[in-house]
């Protein structure tokens, strides 16, 4: 299921970066994360409750994540991606994606 969501319809960037956001205590460890385009972000759920990582603009949508389950998404396009947990909507976060070659 995750593999399907990872298939981004854009040419792969030259260098792949990745980072992780932890879900714990009904919160996201980095609620505002800034990454370069091409970065893969992986969320891991450390709670006993199930959670989701769901874009408010339908850019990505995880299934229900049980304890220790993960969801990954590769951000290819610059922009601001707000997301929340559809089970606990007070849990919100965002990923700010900057152009891949900015500053280089």
């Amino acid at each position: 299921m995750m593999a399907l969501l990872l298939a981004a319809p854009v040419a792969a960037p030259a260098q792949m970066e990745s980072t992780q956001v932890e879900i714990r205590g009904h919160g996201f460890s980095t609620p505002a994360l800034t990454v370069k385009a091409g970065t893969t972000v992986t969320w891991i759920n450390h709670d006993d409750d199930a959670h989701t990582v769901t874009s408010t603009a339908n850019a990505f949508r995880s299934p229900g994540l049980d304890t220790d389950e993960t969801f990954s998404f590769t951000f290819t396009q610059p922009g601001t991606y707000e997301y929340f947990c559809t089970l606990h909507p007070l849990m919100t976060g965002k990923v700010v994606v900057t152009p891949e070659r900015s500053g280089t």
């Binding site: 009904h26 229900g64 049980d66 929340f84 559809t86 089970l87 909507p89 007070l90 919100t92």
Partner: protein, 313 residues
């Protein structure tokens, strides 16, 4: 009786009022009853012979599919709850399941629950969904199974022996950063549904997330619940039954009594205790003592319904 209620302290005060009024029970007791205390004069419904005594059962937050440390055998404790219900005498007229039937919409969990509930010997179960039952597909599976032919997206109404029942759905409108809500369509429907009723009609309202502000910081409230409750204020007896928070809380406001129910799967912390809501692990020998089912008894001639919570211990 009490004004706007937010947070733990007001809940406690609300409960103290409740205690003073009933003169019985403790909030966390194994059996806490709220018996009737005032006899109404003959009502239209009773004059028609409608108000015969009966009981029904509320079961909540079965979370079938949950396998976390707080209860690796949520199916086993659910089956213990079924045994409790089966043993009730007199037999309840029907069951009400106040949602989170499944844990995270696990495949097959709806089937497991509806099949297992046949073991109670009670013919009919009325369901309302919890967020775990609808989050993955916007409610498609739940609504196709439980709400076909209903007046809206899962909300429902029925009458039984002179008591009017309303099932509300407050988990289909979750939006980022917002609280759960009923939505204007459902509230308008509720207003229309209640309008023709005599104020002497006993009303039971059931929904998953509390309709009153138990603890908004954790989402334990329905954003537009107060609006819905406004249409209920004129009634002489309103019993509101909710789940979601996996613990018993009670509050009395005018003629409205609010009750949240235990889960059959796992407990959650008291409001505001710890880092957030969610399953808490208690010593294994204590688990069944914090899980339970609820019997609600309607006695003809009394305006309050008796609410009796029984643990699975």
């Amino acid at each position: 009786m009490s004004d706007a209620s937010e947070g733990h302290e007001l809940d406690r005060r609300g409960f103290l009022q409740c205690m003073a009024w009933t003169g019985t029970g403790l909030l966390w007791s194994v059996v806490g009853g709220v018996p009737g205390s005032r006899v109404l004069g003959p009502t239209a419904a009773q004059a028609q012979g409608a108000g015969q005594s009966f009981s029904f059962v509320q079961i909540s937050d079965t979370h079938i599919g949950f396998k976390g440390a707080a209860n690796p055998d949520a199916l086993g404790t659910f089956e213990a709850a079924i045994a409790r219900i089966k043993a009730l005498d007199p037999k309840p007229a029907f069951l009400i399941h106040t949602g989170d039937i499944t844990h995270a919409q696990k495949a097959g969990a709806f089937d497991t629950v509806s099949e297992a509930l046949k073991g109670t010997g009670v013919e009919r179960t009325f369901y309302v969904p919890g967020e775990n039952d609808v989050f993955a597909d916007g409610g498609t599976e739940y609504l196709n199974r439980f709400a076909v032919g209903g007046p809206g997206r899962g909300w429902q109404t029925f009458d039984y022996r002179g008591v009017h029942f309303v099932g509300l759905v407050n988990v289909l409108n979750f939006k980022a950063g917002k609280l759960g809500s009923l939505g204007p369509d459902q509230i308008e429907w509720l207003e229309r549904d209640l309008a023709p009723l005599a104020s002497s009609t006993p009303v039971v309202v059931f929904a998953h997330v509390p309709l009153w502000a138990v603890y908004p910081e954790w989402g334990w409230v329905t954003e537009d619940g107060a609006q819905a409750l406004g249409y209920l204020k004129r009634f002489g007896s309103v019993t509101v039954l909710n789940g979601h928070i996996h613990q018993i809380m009670q509050k009395v406001e005018g003629n409205v009594t609010f009750h949240t129910a235990r889960s059959t799967a796992f407990p959650q912390p008291a409001p505001g205790v710890g880092s957030g809501p969610g399953p808490i692990k208690v010593p294994v020998e204590e688990l069944r003592g914090v899980l339970g089912v609820r019997e609600v008894r309607y006695t003809a001639g009394r305006d309050r319904l008796a609410v009796v919570d029984t643990s699975l211990a």
